[in-house]
C-alpha cells in the first residue's frame, strides 16, 4: 500500500520519493475480476469479464466509447454492483470496508462539497482514511499540481482543469493499494499532464496497481500493460505494442 509517511518526504521539487521503493513481489493479485458482468435494463455493459492486476502494474484501459471501461471501474470501486461474477480488491469483495481502504477511485467527473475549501477537502478525505497528519502530503500534491494558492478557495472558484487537478489531489492524498483513474488527463494543460504522469509512476513504483482509462496514445505507450474492452468484453490484454493495439482499434 502506498503510504507516504513511511516512503518519503518531499524533495526540492516537492517530489514524493526520497527513498526508492521496490515494487511488491506479492504474487496475489490486488484486483481480481472473475466472470464479471453488468446489465442495465437488458443492455449488457460488461459480460464475462475476467482480469487480474498485480502490484506495480500501470494498466491502460482502452476501448471505444460505450465499451464498458467506466462500468468496469465503477464496479471495482464498489459504486456499481455486478449482475454476475465477482470482483475483489486486495482479496476482499469490492465495496467492503477493507476493499474501500485499499482502493482509490478518481471519477471522470470531479465532485466536491461546495462549502469546503480545497485544503479542508484534503484534510477531511485523509482523516476519513485514518491519516492523522496529511499536511506534508497535501502540501506536496498542491505544490506539484500548481494548486498551492488555491488551498483556501472553494470549488466554485475553480476552472474545469483546476477541478480535475483538485480531484487528482484528493485521490492521491490517502493511502491505497490500487488506483483507478477514469480519463484523468482530460482538461489538463501539458505541464499538469506531465505531473500526473509522474505521480502515477510514483504510485506504481511504490507498489500500487494503477489503472487508467484513457484514449491518449502517450498514456497507453507509458503503461506496462494494456487492456482493451470492446462491447463489454475483454478484447485485448498485453503489452502496449503499436501493431497489436492497431489491430484492436481497427476493429
Amino acid at each position: 500500500m502506498v503510504d507516504w509517511k513511511t516512503h518519503g518526504r518531499p524533495d526540492r521539487r516537492g517530489g514524493l520519493l526520497t527513498t526508492k521503493v521496490q515494487p511488491q513481489t506479492d504474487p496475489s493479485p490486488i484486483l481480481a475480476a472473475r466472470g464479471l458482468g453488468r446489465r442495465y435494463d437488458g443492455f449488457m455493459a460488461l459480460g464475462s469479464f475476467s482480469l487480474e492486476l498485480r502490484a506495480g502494474e500501470l494498466v491502460a484501459l482502452v476501448g471505444p466509447n460505450g465499451a464498458g471501461k467506466t462500468t468496469f471501474l465503477t464496479l471495482a470501486a464498489g459504486l456499481l454492483e455486478p449482475s454476475s461474477g465477482t470482483i475483489a480488491i486486495a482479496g476482499e469483495l469490492a465495496g467492503t470496508i477493507p476493499a474501500r481502504r485499499a482502493l482509490s477511485y478518481l471519477p471522470d467527473t470531479p465532485v466536491f462539497y461546495e462549502d469546503l475549501s480545497l485544503g479542508e477537502h484534503l484534510a477531511y478525505v485523509a482523516a476519513l482514511h485514518g491519516v492523522a497528519d496529511e499536511g506534508a502530503r497535501a502540501a506536496q500534491l498542491l505544490e506539484r499540481l500548481g494548486l498551492e494558492e488555491w488551498e483556501n478557495s472553494l470549488p466554485s472558484e475553480f476552472s474545469h482543469g483546476m477541478r480535475q487537478k483538485a480531484s487528482i489531489a484528493l485521490a492521491l492524498v490517502r493511502p491505497f493499494s490500487a488506483l483507478l483513474a477514469d480519463e484523468p488527463f482530460d482538461g489538463l494543460d501539458p505541464p499538469s499532464r506531465e505531473v500526473l504522469f509522474e505521480l502515477l509512476a510514483e504510485a506504481r513504483q511504490e507498489g500500487a496497481a494503477v489503472v487508467v482509462s484513457t484514449h491518449r496514445p502517450d498514456v497507453i505507450a507509458a503503461a506496462s500493460r494494456c487492456v482493451g474492452i470492446r462491447d463489454g468484453r475483454l478484447a485485448y490484454d498485453g503489452p502496449p505494442e503499436a501493431d497489436a493495439l492497431g489491430e484492436f482499434f481497427e476493429h
Binding site: G95, V125, A127, L128, G130
Partner: protein, 519 residues
C-alpha cells in the same frame, strides 16, 4: 478516528451554514409562514361544520374508521416501499458518496444521522398536522379535546415515518421494485379487506386504531390495537434505521444528482423540469412497445393527434395507475364535498392538475424544443393548440373515471348529472392550465420574483377553482331546491371562456418564443 473526523466535519459544516444564514431573512420567512398558517387555519376552521355527528355516524366511524385510516397508512407504506426500491428516501450529496461512502467506515454509522434527521422532521410535522386536525375533530365527535389532539397528534407523528421507514427498509434490503410494490399492495389489499369485513387484523388498521381511540365503544380491544399499532410503527422505524447502511450506491449517486437538480428547479418554480426530473427519479420511462399500435391509415391524416396518442400509449403502467388513482381520489373528494365537507372542494382541482401535467407531455416536449418547432411548416401557435386536443380527450377520460368514482362513493343522481355537465369544460380548463404551466418561462420574471410566483401559482389556482366552483355552486343550489345542473352549467360557461382565453394566450406565447428564436 474516521468517525470522529466525520462528526467534526459535519458539525463544522452545520456551523458554517448557520453562520451564513441571514437572520432577518429567516425571521421574515417565519413571520410570513405564521401569518399564512394562521389565515389557512382560520379558513379551514370556518369551513368545518361544528354540528355534532349523529350516533350512527359515530358508530360507523368506530367500526370502519381504523381501516379507513389504515388505508392511508398502507398507502404511505406502499409509496415508501416504491421510493425505497428506487434508492430513496435519502438524498445524499454526490461528494458524500464519493468521499464518505467510499471511505473505510461503516455506512450505517455515516448514513444513520441523516435518516434520523429526516425521521425527526417527519415526526414533528406529522404530529403538528395531526394535532391541528384533532383540534377540529373534537368539535364534531364525542371525546375530550385533549384525547383527540393527543391521539391524532400521535397518529400524525407515525404516518410520515411509516413512509420513510418503509423506504429505508426497502432500500437497505435492496428490494426489487416489483417485490416492494407487491409488499405494499399486499398490505393495502389486507387493509381493504379489513374495511370491507369490519375487522381489525392488518398492521395498518392497527395503526389506524390510534387515531380513533377517543371514540366511545372501543374498550380494551382498541387499547390493545393502539399498543400493537404503536409497536408495529416503531418496529418499522427501527428496522428501517438498522438497514440504512446497506443502500445501493448506484441508486444513491443517481438520486444525489437528480435531487440537486430537482431542488434547483423547484427553487426557480420551473415546474416542467420538476416533472421531468421526478419521472427520472421514479425511473418512469416510456414503454418500448406501445400498449396498442395505432393504425396508420386513419391516424396519419391528423399527425398531432396521432403523436399525442402515441405518447399516451407508451405510458408505463405506474403512470397509468397513478393517473387512474388520481381520477378515483378526485371523485371521492368530490363526493365527500357534495355530502357536506366543503373543505374537500380544494382537492379535486389540485389532484387533477397533477394528472393534467402528465397529459400535456406531447405539447410540453414541443414547447421544450423551439428550434425543432420552428423548422415545421406550421405556425407555432396552431401546432401547440392542436396539441391540446389529444390531451383534452385523455383528460376527459380521467374526469369520467372521477365521475364514476364519485357515484361509487355515494354521490346522488343529481351529482352525476352535474358531473356529466362539467366533465368536458373542466377537462379543457385543466389541460389549458397544465399547458400554461408547462410552457412557462421560469426566468421571465427573475427581477420581479413576485410576478414569477404569481405566474407559477395561477394555473393551480385556476384548476382548483375550475374543478371545485361548478360543483360547489350546484350543491348550494340543490340544497335550496334549485336546478343544480343549470347552476353548474352557468359556472362552466365562464370556465369555457377562461379556457379559450388561456388557449389563445399559450398560442401567442409560443408564437412570440418562435419569433425570438428566429431572430
Amino acid at each position: 478516528m474516521q468517525t470522529a473526523a466525520l462528526g467534526e466535519m459535519r458539525s463544522a459544516r452545520r456551523r458554517r451554514f448557520v453562520e451564513r444564514l441571514d437572520v432577518m431573512e429567516v425571521l421574515y420567512r417565519v413571520y410570513l409562514a405564521a401569518i399564512f398558517g394562521a389565515i389557512g387555519l382560520a379558513v379551514l376552521a370556518s369551513w368545518v361544520e361544528e354540528a355534532p355527528a349523529t350516533a350512527r355516524a359515530v358508530a360507523d366511524m368506530r367500526d370502519h374508521g381504523p381501516a379507513v385510516l389504515g388505508l392511508a397508512v398502507a398507502l404511505a407504506v406502499l409509496m415508501g416501499m416504491r421510493s425505497g426500491a428506487r434508492g430513496g428516501p435519502l438524498a445524499i450529496e454526490a461528494a458524500e458518496v464519493q468521499y464518505v461512502l467510499l471511505a473505510p467506515i461503516d455506512r450505517g454509522v455515516t448514513l444513520r444521522p441523516a435518516a434520523l434527521r429526516q425521521l425527526r422532521i417527519a415526526v414533528l410535522a406529522g404530529a403538528v398536522l395531526g394535532a391541528a386536525i384533532g383540534n377540529f375533530v373534537f368539535r364534531r365527535l364525542p371525546g375530550s379535546p385533549v384525547e383527540w389532539i393527543a391521539c391524532l397528534g400521535l397518529f400524525g407523528a407515525l404516518l410520515p415515518p411509516c413512509t420513510l421507514s418503509a423506504a429505508l427498509l426497502a432500500s437497505g434490503r435492496r428490494l426489487r421494485p416489483a417485490v416492494a410494490t407487491a409488499i405494499g399492495a399486499g398490505l393495502l389489499a389486507w387493509t381493504l379487506a379489513d374495511l370491507l369485513l369490519g375487522s381489525t387484523t392488518s398492521p395498518a388498521t392497527l395503526v389506524g386504531e390510534i387515531a380513533t381511540l377517543p371514540l366511545p365503544g372501543g374498550g380494551p380491544v382498541a387499547l390493545a390495537g393502539l399498543g400493537l399499532g404503536l409497536a408495529i410503527a416503531l418496529a418499522l422505524g427501527w428496522f428501517g434505521l438498522r438497514s440504512v447502511g446497506r443502500i445501493a450506491l448506484e441508486a444513491a449517486r443517481r438520486r444525489a444528482a437528480l435531487t440537486a437538480e430537482l431542488r434547483f428547479s423547484a427553487s426557480v418554480q420551473d415546474l416542467r423540469t420538476v416533472v421531468l426530473l421526478r419521472r427520472q427519479l421514479a425511473s418512469e420511462r416510456p414503454r418500448r412497445r406501445p400498449w396498442i399500435r395505432l393504425r396508420t391509415a386513419v391516424s396519419s391524416r391528423y399527425p398531432v393527434w396521432r403523436r399525442g396518442w402515441q405518447s399516451f400509449l407508451r405510458w408505463p403502467l405506474a403512470r397509468l395507475a397513478r393517473v387512474a388513482a388520481i381520477g378515483v381520489a378526485a371523485g371521492a373528494a368530490t363526493a365527500g364535498a357534495w355530502s357536506g365537507i366543503s373543505l374537500l372542494f380544494v382537492l379535486p382541482g389540485a389532484l387533477l392538475m397533477v394528472a393534467a401535467l402528465d397529459l400535456v407531455e406531447p405539447l410540453a416536449q414541443e414547447a421544450d424544443h423551439p428550434t425543432r418547432r420552428e423548422l415545421l411548416p406550421v405556425a407555432a401557435a396552431t401546432l401547440i393548440q392542436r396539441h391540446l386536443v389529444p390531451s383534452f380527450a385523455a383528460m376527459a377520460s380521467v374526469l369520467l373515471i372521477a365521475t364514476l368514482a364519485a357515484l361509487a362513493f355515494g354521490a346522488s343522481a343529481t351529482a352525476a348529472g352535474v358531473g356529466a355537465v362539467v366533465l368536458f369544460p373542466t377537462a379543457l380548463v385543466l389541460v389549458c392550465c397544465a399547458a400554461f404551466s408547462a410552457t412557462n418561462d421560469p426566468y421571465a420574471y427573475v427581477l420581479t420574483p413576485q410576478l414569477g410566483y404569481a405566474q407559477s401559482a395561477a394555473p393551480l389556482v385556476i384548476a382548483v377553482v375550475a374543478a371545485g366552483a361548478p360543483v360547489l355552486a350546484a350543491r348550494e343550489v340543490a340544497r335550496h331546491g334549485g336546478p343544480a345542473v343549470s347552476a353548474a352549467a352557468g359556472v362552466e360557461i365562464v370556465m369555457l371562456l377562461l379556457a379559450v382565453a388561456m388557449a389563445w394566450w399559450i398560442g401567442k406565447r409560443m408564437a412570440d418564443q418562435t419569433a425570438v428564436v428566429a431572430s
